[in-house]
Amino acid sequence: MTIEFFAGRYPYILIAVLMGIGLYGMTMKRNLLKKIIGMTIFQTSIYLFFIQGANKSGATIPVYLEELGTEPTQYMNPLPQVIVLTAIVVGVAITGVALALLLLTYKRYGSLDEEVILRRMRESG
């Protein structure tokens, strides 16, 4: 484990850490709002994975330029960016629906704690 190993890979390591935090929040937290926050962190780590994977240093936006010609290394690959844009839209929709469901749950059970809600569900039959 040398410093070079981390120097080349640190973005991926950070993404993996972020993903772990997100999954931990989704599975281990009892508070439903924290679960949703965990879900958002998890999704964000995936967006970052796509952006990092497509990263090229020194490349420009994918619009044809006379002086650069058709050399592909000179341009960014637009496809991963488009995927991330689409995935962000999907993610926002999921978060929106999740928050709406959260609101309904809170109105019905007066709590965001999973255990408390389950107990109140059992009490009301």
């Binding site: 998890f42 995935a87 999907v90 999921i94 309904l104 019905r108």
Partner: protein, 506 residues
């Protein structure tokens, strides 16, 4: 003809939009538009099926005129035609059933339920048709979001159960998307046909292996493969009948379909069986899931919970077909997709009809229904004969092919699992049947009804007789389907499924 692949989801997406706009003015108009969209896409699917079978060739459509692999391609091949016809068929049947059921179970929510139903069907049809692994993710989430909306309109606990399902679904979608990322950065393309050409050279690439594992885990979460099924019983328990009747039959199956698609058409032959033991893992988890689901189904007192646990077991039959990874076993699994969709749809719709007439959802309260709702209960008997697997119902043949596949693979434990689980499902379904045909005894509301043959002209809360025609006809269609698919299963196999499993050799 070549527009068919694009038309199927587009008609439904258009119908969802128009249905919402019209529904705000008049609920009836909204319903009519959504029903038309579903009906039209079903007709187009049937046309496509006929075209694919008669020409023997897949119909390909490049979205927006962008030539694949640059653009997104929609492919209607044998497997996709098989699935879209099933999806849109169940969609139309549930749409016919929906108005009365929604009016009773979730009054005032129907305006938004119809567009959600259309969106759900559009998402599932899109998942089966697309030839692009990322586009599949987008349709998967469209279907999932529509499903969350539909499930949340259910009972008191509905939103909470749906929120837990949403978290699982988001994790599943996330894992799949991550897998797509690994695949794209190793192979440089998202088109399925293009990938299948490039991946054989990357068989030993660790990124490709990671991609396959992540995609399968994500889809298995969505498919409710044991032990990732835990969200299912609570969700179905609280769902309105229409949502359960749409989601239980087709939604989990489409995720299973996506795994089969990756296995057969995207990753090179041998990759899921030898390079990575994915099919074997799915097979063993399915075998465990079959036993687990069947045993827990026996312990349930609520009809819908019983069906949910039974679904955990039944979806695993499809998984077992994947696990066998030989042509005859996979044919059994694929056939079970249709069989179980018809049978489980039938049983959920019957549950909704019983609820409409009597308000009963618990099995011990179902006493005497054989007297008061005779025709519905005849359909119920057809449904359970199918679930247990008694010829000539459809359920027999899928289990039969799975057994043949297990013999061929020498998988005797799985062979035993199929037999034992059939006996277990006989136990839990005959328990219900016994209750239904038992004498209702002193219950005055039930004994006063003897004629019970009429199907219409009753007020919603009058607890008697078979359900109204709009609910009984879908039940009758599905019951007929269970028998017809059983009798004509060899037609489906020779026209469609043998072509589908051709990549496995044999």
């Amino acid at each position: 003809m070549s527009q068919i692949p694009a038309l199927i989801p587009t008609l439904l997406l258009l119908a969802a939009l128009l249905s919402l706009l019209a529904g705000l003015k008049s609920q009836r108009a909204g319903y009519f538009l959504a029903l038309m969209g579903a009906g039209a896409s079903f007709l187009v699917s049937v046309l496509g099926l006929v075209e694919v079978v008669s020409s023997g060739q897949a119909i390909r459509y490049a979205m927006g005129g962008w030539i694949p692999p640059i653009g997104i391609e929609f492919v209607l091949d044998h497997l996709a035609a098989y699935m879209t016809t099933l999806i849109t068929f169940i969609g139309v049947v549930v749409f016919i059933y929906a108005p009365r059921s929604l009016h009773f179970e979730s009054p005032g929510k129907a305006t938004f339920a119809y567009p959600s139903m259309a969106l759900l069907i559009a998402g599932l049809a899109g998942m089966t048709l697309t030839g692009d692994v990322f586009n599949l993710y987008v349709f998967l989430e469209i279907a999932a979001l529509a499903a969350y909306a539909l499930l949340a309109i259910g009972e008191r606990g509905g939103p909470f159960a749906t929120l837990r399902y949403l978290l699982i679904g988001a994790a599943g979608g996330g894992f799949y998307l991550l897998g797509v990322g690994f695949l794209y950065f190793s192979a440089g393309t998202l088109n399925m046909a293009d990938l299948s050409g490039l991946l054989p050279e990357l068989m030993e690439n660790r990124a490709v292996m990671t991609a396959a594992a992540l995609m399968v885990v994500g889809l298995a979460l969505k498919m409710a493969l044991f032990p990732m099924h835990f969200w299912m019983p609570d969700v179905y328990h609280n769902a309105p009948t229409v949502a359960a009747g749409l989601i239980a039959p087709i939604m989990t199956k489409v995720s299973a379909y996506a795994i089969i698609r990756l296995f057969l058409d995207v990753f090179p032959p041998g990759f899921f069986t030898e390079t990575l033991p994915i099919t074997a893992t799915i097979g063993w988890l399915s075998a465990a899931g079959i036993l687990y689901g069947s045993i827990l189904a026996i312990a349930q007192h609520d009809y819908r919970r019983m069906l949910a646990y039974s679904s955990v077991g039944q979806i695993a039959y499809v998984g077992l077909g994947i696990g066998l990874a030989n042509p005859i076993g996979l044919i059994g699994g694929l056939l079970h997709i249709v069989n179980h969709a018809l049978m489980k749809g039938l049983l959920f719709l019957i549950g909704g009809a019983v609820r409409l007439r009597t308000g009963v959802t618990r099995i011990p309260d179902m006493k005497g229904l054989g007297r008061s709702m005779p025709w519905t209960m005849y359909a119920f008997v057809i449904g359970i004969l199918g679930m247990v697997g008694i010829p000539p119902t459809a359920g027999f043949f899928s289990k039969f092919y799975l057994l043949l596949g297990a013999v061929e693979a020498g998988a005797w434990i799985w062979f035993a699992v199929i037999i034992v689980s059939s006996l277990l499902s006989a136990v839990y379904f005959f328990r219900v049947t016994e209750m239904i045909f038992r004498d209702p005894g002193e219950d005055p509301a039930e004994t006063s009804r003897e004629e019970g043959g009429e199907k219409d002209e009753t007020t919603p809360d009058q607890p008697q007789g078979d359900p109204p025609a709009s609910m009984f006809i879908p039940i009758a269609i599905l019951a007929a389907g269970v028998i017809l698919v059983g009798v004509f299963n060899f037609v489906i196999i020779s026209a469609l499924l043998e072509r589908v499993v051709a990549p496995l050799g044999g």
